[in-house]
Amino acid sequence: MAYSTISGIKIEALTACVPEYCQDNLESGKLIFSDSELKNVVKATGIRYRRICKLEDTTALDLSIKAAEDIFFNSKIKREEIGAVVFVTFTPDNQMPNNATLVQKKMNLDNHIPAFDINLACSGYVYGLWVSAMMVKHLNKRVLFLDGEKQSYVTSNKDKATALLLADAGSATILAPDKNTTNWFFSFETYGEDREALHIPSGGSRNPIKPTDLDYIKREDGSFRRNVDIMMNGMDVFKFVIQKVSANIKNILNETTIDESQIDFFALHQANEYMLKQIAKRNKIPLEKIPISINKYGNSSSPTVPVTICSEKAELFQNSKNKVLLSGFGGGLSIGTAIVESDKPYCGGVIEYEE
């Protein structure tokens, strides 16, 4: 297990942004499920509504910039104070150059700053916090960390494994130096051998897109999906979450000798509600300490962590000190878990992007 400890940083601001357009799974699911199947799927996954970009021209970058602008508009932080930009995404506007440099331009940030992307899926928010925290320490400046995904453009609405699950969202977090804070703890695990459990087969340099990759092909389970769409092996991902992620959370608590009772809430990646309940059961975490936002927004990959804090805990986060365990897990397969303490940052909640 890889552990990392960082001190002297604080979360200064956090806002999430979702598309205004809301899809009702009980409607869209009729394409692939019978009425009774659909009812059970929605009940088990806990996902009734998903937010997705309606227009082709809206991207994860737009959602994340809107979240960042909320922070500059409503908090005391000024854009001139930003010393670096980190953008976590696997759905950037362009394959080259990256999203972070476009953020620097669109948000009129200083030219004399580093700006780069990190390519990660569901575990990305914790990785972004980790890298940003290290940068805050080394630069002694504020870091603007954006985490956003537009999964809807690589999701088939006729894929039984993903169609009622995946969503779009963006977020912005600002980290700053602060000598008076307690240690933050991080733990990471990587299972590259299971990467095909959750992946996009075509579109990278290994399998460049061919015209036929854009055809909707009938799959074994009756689903229709393109080779450029996200494909998920439900059983493999399920097993990974129930066994590996549950153990990872247990291990970081043991390693840091922090008891579950000392954690104010667990901001977990919103894979689906059933899996979150299983993680809770295995770690004996009371369900009320695991906020759920997937019912309203769907699974937007790594942004579900900030979306959940902003949706369910905004007031608590903004008005009191909190010890929070954050965990992201999925595509890679990859796990990132952190235990951080926050002290009344600005929290803009979940704002909507109008198209």
Partner: protein, 75 residues
Amino acid sequence: MEKQNEFLEKVADILECEPDKISLETDFREDIEDWDSLKGFSLLILFEEEYDRKMKVEEFLKCKTIKNLYDAVLN
């Protein structure tokens, strides 16, 4: 008999119902009101962790009743 009851108890826990609501004859996909594939995945993990029996999804799909599962796992 004890083995059977223990098996039924563990399966009932995953199906989120009382053990006396199911028997070996239960057709879990049809008779369990809230059946869904996530519960199926959970059963496979139960078999692996508690009975050291790795069952493939294809094999699981051929099982209809809880007796089919019991026989596949314990025999």
